[in-house]
């Protein structure tokens, strides 16, 4: 029962898994802050953001399971796949790092998700459009909150600036993956399900430039490095995330929770 499930490779399902998995794994990382944030207000903010992302993930994974048509519910999809069948962006797998790393990643991801949800709100799939309508409001708030911190830390003390620059440099390596187009994107776009992510790039850069500009930060140069989590080839961090996340489902076969 708790052996891994095999997931259908049809493009629309894969397209949805990219979204649902990115929200899920990002939530795992953000939730590591609960109880450990620099100020109590951020314990609340981080828990809240993780909660929103879990909610988004549940909705999208449920829809993916329905479209797949193999009877997989949100939990089977979330907990019983093999690593290579997760389709999240590599960026969200990276360890939580310090608070600078967290807010830069949150700003990048929330900006992406906001732009994505805006487009998904016009999806030909009514269910997805409805999910997006709610999610976009959450993502807007996440973006604002993270951007405020990027600005606050970027334009403050030397230490904070060094930390935020380092975070930006490290995370920027994972940006190309966000906008790499492939057959899955093309299929989703052709079916009117959602945009090719590459079509979000110009607007994403514009918004990120605005945030970085206000924080008096420079956008880093692009490198030749390419991450590939969206295609199921993850970083070495992913195995540890899954071992922890899946443990109870694996160790208590047939459990009802």
């Amino acid at each position: 029962m708790q052996a891994s499930i095999a997931v259908d490779l049809q493009p629309i399902v894969q397209y949805l898994l990219r979204i649902g998995d990115t929200c899920l794994i990002h939530a795992q990382r953000i939730s590591e802050w609960s109880g450990h944030a620099p100020i109590l207000e951020e314990d609340i903010a981080m828990s809240n953001m993780a909660l929103d992302l879990i909610g988004q993930s549940r909705a999208v994974l449920t829809l993916a399971g329905q479209l797949e048509g193999r009877g997989h519910d949100e939990d089977q999809l979330a907990f019983l796949r093999q690593e290579k069948d997760y389709r999240n962006l590599t960026m969200v797998e990276l360890p939580r790092g310090d608070f600078a790393f967290t807010v830069v990643r949150n700003a990048m991801m929330a900006t992406l998700m906001k732009l994505l949800w805006e487009r998904l709100h016009e999806s030909s799939n009514a269910e997805l459009a409805a999910i997006a309508g709610k999610a976009v409001k959450e993502a807007r708030y996440h973006q604002q909150h993270a951007a405020d911190w990027v600005v606050r830390l970027g334009d403050s003390t030397d230490e904070a600036r060094q930390r935020i620059e380092k975070a930006l440099r490290e995370l920027w390596l994972y940006v190309p993956e966000l906008f790499e187009s492939d057959a899955i994107d093309e299929a989703a776009s052709a079916a009117g399900i959602g945009p090719r992510w590459t079509d979000l790039q110009a607007k994403w850069l514009e918004e990120m430039d605005a945030i970085l500009g206000e924080a008096t930060l420079q956008r880093p140069d692009d490198a030749a490095f390419r991450s590939t989590g969206k295609r199921g080839v993850h970083s070495e961090h992913m195995g540890y995330i899954l071992a922890e996340m899946q443990y109870l489902q694996r160790a208590y076969p047939g459990g009802v929770w």
Binding site: L24, A27, Q28, S31, E32, S34, G35, H36, A37, P38, I39, L40, E41, D43, I44, S47, N48, A50, L51, I54, G55, S57, R58, L61, E74, D75, A78, F79, D98, F99, V151, R152, L153, D155, S156, T157, E159, A160, R163, I241, E244, M245, Y247, L248, Q249, Y252, P253, G254, G255, V256, W257
Partner: protein, 312 residues
């Protein structure tokens, strides 16, 4: 002493005291100690639950747990604010926590070892907390009473969710899950009934707090109420409480219970419980690791408050 007489009269009349009202120093200190201790308990209490967020067994349970932790941080926030109305800053209170001068609820010095601990904490620990806290909704200090009304409402919700999580496993789960629940109940039962504090005859601060309307019901009375209620709930769940001496006493109209190991209680209160060092260490580390963030936020605010130089 006219002020003190008027204060006493207010108390006797069951009136509320507001922040701007005159109050005796000792009343103020007692409240700061109690409210900040309560706030610290909310904050430290996030840790044993935070320990299971990344391992929650379903997405629904993960969301419920995250929401609960978020509520607890919120409770901490109200409570620090309530205490601040008495003239002590949040940073001062945190400093007292971090240096070990302030206490928090000892229950959070026990480890969360299985997923069933999440449900059990909701059921027993939040249950005991509510029993303790409901009377504080009528506390004589109004800002504290107002905070408690909101907190108690959310705590009740948490308790029901915890109970429901256990009930799901007991009614629909596997044998291994049921054993997990029973194991958790075995570990949390005694620490939970210690949450009401030492027996009345060994509780030195209680009399004055009662007099002032900060405390309304005695430790032993609350404990008895909790045990009576919990025994019925345990029957619904189908778990055994790990005390063979629990039996109905017709005369007292309460259940009798076995001997509580108060030496364990005092050991944990004294800093030598299973997780005291980890809990405090985690809080201090979060605070220290976050120092640069707080400094940066202040520096940024100062920078932005200055007039900006004109562009060249």
């Amino acid at each position: 002493m006219q002020l003190e007489e008027r204060f006493d009269a207010h108390i006797d009349a069951g009136d509320f005291i507001e922040a701007k009202d005159w109050m005796p120093d000792h009343y103020r200190k007692t409240l700061v100690r109690q409210i900040s201790q309560h706030a610290h308990s909310e904050i430290v209490g996030m840790l044993p639950e935070g320990n299971w967020v990344t391992r929650a067994p379903t997405l629904k349970r993960k969301a419920i747990l995250l929401a609960k932790i978020q509520d607890e941080a919120g409770h901490g926030l109200y409570l620090y604010s309530a205490a601040e109305t008495l003239g002590t800053s949040r940073d001062q209170m945190l400093e007292a926590l971090h240096t070990g001068r302030a206490k928090y609820s000892s229950i959070f010095n026990y480890p969360t070892l299985t997923w069933a601990d999440m449900g059990t904490i909701g059921w027993l620990v939040d249950g005991a907390a509510i029993m303790n806290q409901v009377p504080i909704c009528r506390c004589s200090y109004a800002p504290y009473a107002r905070a408690m009304i909101r907190i108690c409402r959310e705590e009740s919700f948490h308790q029901r969710q915890g109970f429901e999580a256990l009930l799901t496993m007991m009614q629909h789960g596997t044998e291994a899950q049921k054993a997990m629940v029973q194991d958790a109940v075995n570990r949390w039962w005694w620490p939970s009934i210690m949450m009401f504090g030492p027996p009345d005859d060994q509780s030195p601060n209680s009399a004055q707090s009662m007099r002032w309307g900060i405390k309304r019901i005695s430790n032993d009375e609350l404990r008895a109420k909790f045990i009576d209620a919990t025994i019925e709930q345990a029957k619904v769940l189908g778990v055994t409480l790990p005390d063979p001496d629990l039996k109905w006493n017709e005369e007292r109209q309460h259940y009798d219970h076995g001997t509580i190991d108060w030496s364990e209680f005092w050991r944990v209160v004294g800093g030598d419980g299973p997780c005291n060092r980890e809990r405090l260490g985690a809080r201090v580390k979060a605070w220290d690791d976050g120092a640069w963030v707080r400094d940066a936020a202040l520096a940024h605010a100062a920078k932005r408050a200055e007039p900006q130089p004109l562009a060249a």
